[in-house]
């Protein structure tokens, strides 16, 4: 099948959505600029005109309210933040309005907006340009929160998000933008709230999200060589969560490891453990574990981020420990001299 990059898949989803529905609009800082938000919005303005694809002032709270308002009258706005961190200026509109309008007006309003937020790691993005705050949004009833990993999922989930009648926070990890996968042409949807099983095994269940799934895939390849086989579940949406699949897997393996791109405290990865305890208690053979960021702001220097972020090596080590083995991830993985703070050769900062 045809392969596309994650960023191209996003772009294609936009194109399809805007083609099939004239009410879909796309805006945000820089969506029509020469870089097109890492390529994800390139060409849209040329195809759909400046009424439907446009730049905005740096006014995050108002622009979010404007998306909500437009959506109340049938428009399906997709708003983009080049960094999730900027959305903190609009928490009022997201939490007090978008998340509540459907419920608090007795079901009479729908708020079909999608807010894209880009998160990242590495290359000195530092404390205010790399926060992975999906758990904050997941804490808010009325929001949906989506975190695709593959290009295939990115396209299908963006289409579903745009045509969902509820506000969807759509989180893209910058390190995924260049990864390729098979992407069918045309319109297809992936159900929000359904996870994807990436690999099968009886030893342990790994529940992962977004870029951490890529690290997990690498780890699992190495683990296989030591005859360790895990269920890897890419949750794809953080809210709603696909509990059925998670419980089913843990009931099979009896062991749970959650991977989070963010800080552990107050996180969805804690929830997964709490819900698994509630629903699969008698199946658990060992204590469930969580691999997340340390409880500190992101440091900037590469010498600091090196130990701050979690990688395949760390996954191998924790899995190994949970299974009573003594593999050393750092000895097993050879990164071939590639610096730890970039996703690949194609990435030449600063963005």
């Amino acid at each position: 099948m045809r392969k596309l990059k994650f960023s191209q898949a996003i772009n294609e989803a936009f194109e399809i959505a805007m083609q099939i529905n004239p009410n879909v609009i796309c805006y945000g800082l820089g969506v029509d600029d020469p870089k097109g938000v890492f390529g994800t919005t390139l060409g849209l303005k040329e195809k759909f005109g400046k009424d439907r694809v446009f730049d905005t002032p740096a006014s995050e709270n108002a622009m979010t309210g404007i998306a909500i308002g437009a959506s109340l009258n049938g428009i399906r706005p997709v708003m983009t933040h080049q960094r999730l961190d900027f959305s903190l200026l609009s928490m009022d509109q997201i939490i007090n309005n978008a998340a509540k309008f459907h419920f608090m007006f007795g079901g009479q309003h729908t708020v079909p907006i999608t807010i894209r937020m880009i998160t990242g790691r590495g290359w000195g993005q530092g404390p205010t340009h790399s926060q992975n705050l999906q758990s904050i949004f997941a804490h808010i009833p009325g929001l949906k929160v989506v975190m695709p990993t593959t290009a295939y999922d990115a396209k299908g989930l963006l289409l579903s998000s745009i045509f969902d009648d509820n506000p969807v926070i759509f989180i893209e990890h910058r390190w995924l933008h260049n990864l390729e996968s098979d992407v069918p042409e045309g319109d297809y949807r992936i159900e929000i709230g359904k996870s994807k099983k990436i690999s099968d095994g009886f030893d342990l269940t790994i529940v992962s999200m977004s870029y951490m799934t890529v690290e997990a895939i690498h780890a699992l390849e190495i683990l296989k060589k030591s005859d360790i086989h895990c269920d890897l579940i890419d949750i794809r949406s953080v809210k709603p969560m696909d509990w059925t699949t998670i419980f089913h897997s843990v009931k099979k393996t009896g062991r749970l490891l959650t991977l989070d791109t963010g800080v552990g405290q107050g996180s969805v990865s804690s929830d997964i453990i709490a819900e698994v305890c509630h629903n699969c208690w008698s199946s658990l053979k060992a204590q469930p574990e969580r691999l997340s960021l340390p409880d500190m702001p992101t440091p900037t220097s590469p010498s600091l981020t090196k130990h701050f972020y979690r990688r395949s090596e760390d996954i191998i080590n924790i899995v190994s420990k949970m299974l009573g083995k003594d593999l050393d991830g750092y000895a097993l993985i050879d990164r071939d001299g590639l610096p730890h703070d970039v996703p690949g050769d194609w990435f030449k900062g600063p963005f």
Partner: protein, 322 residues
Amino acid sequence: MEHTLKINLFKKLFKIRTVEETIADKYTEWEMRCPTHLSTGQEGVAAGVCQALEDDDFVFSSHRSHAHYIAKGGDIRKMIAEIYGKSTGCSAGRGGSMHLIDKSVGFLGSTSIVGGTIPLAAGVALSVKLKNSSQVTCTFFGDAAVEEGVFYETINYAVTNKLPVLFICENNLYSVYSPLSVRQPENRNIFEMVEGIGISVDHGNGNDPWEVFEKSRNAVGKIRELQIPIFLEFSTYRWREHCGPFFDNDIGYRTETEFLHWKEKDPLQFFENMLLEQRVIDESQIQSIKAGIIDEVNEAFQFAHDSDFPDFTGIQNSVYHS
């Protein structure tokens, strides 16, 4: 034509007053169990502005929303039922006094966060523009809402993109108990400041309903014709406490004298006198209009009172639209 307009305007004024004062009367029965911000004294702005709007124009409001809801033609039975927390309420009992809606007359909603609906109005105006409709979207807010950054951001955006929005600021001098002096620069008129952002502005006496109407009609006409946003500031005064049914001139944040000064300028009485003087209407017609409205309001309270409470069962499935 103008005759009917005036009578309709009077009806709006009296209906708002009657609803608000009936709420005040009955509030201490403690059956309306939610924060409630009454508009008594401020009816002129709501009625005058909404009189200038078409049925399919849109309106948003804030925490002090009853007057706007009623003036836009919202169903008062559903409104009172909402305040009583009943299943027949306009928001099915989930929203309360601060979260009213009546989409059938273009009243798209009120919310309790100061400034919260201002960008929503711009968003609806954007949608109207995209759909090539000529509807006007109006949002009502108080003098404190202009202190929120989102107000400024919205005006800037609406001007830059020529959005057909009517921004109505009801300046009643207070934010809860705080006078303007602790919140905004001395000698700075709100409308002048806002004009600096680049929007057309006007201002007027909010307690003269006809002036409000004329200025609004003028603004609405321009908005439709030129596809631009306009900001209007109207001075007015709330009679009762910020939130709740009582008078509170005794607690010290404002004086009885100030209150009486403004009570003199009662928009309802003012307009009633004007209609009588202009012989638009006579005393007996007034009495019969009033009687009709009082009946309607009483019936609405009865309806609300008699309605059932909503059931919790199943409500968790209404968080998302599916």
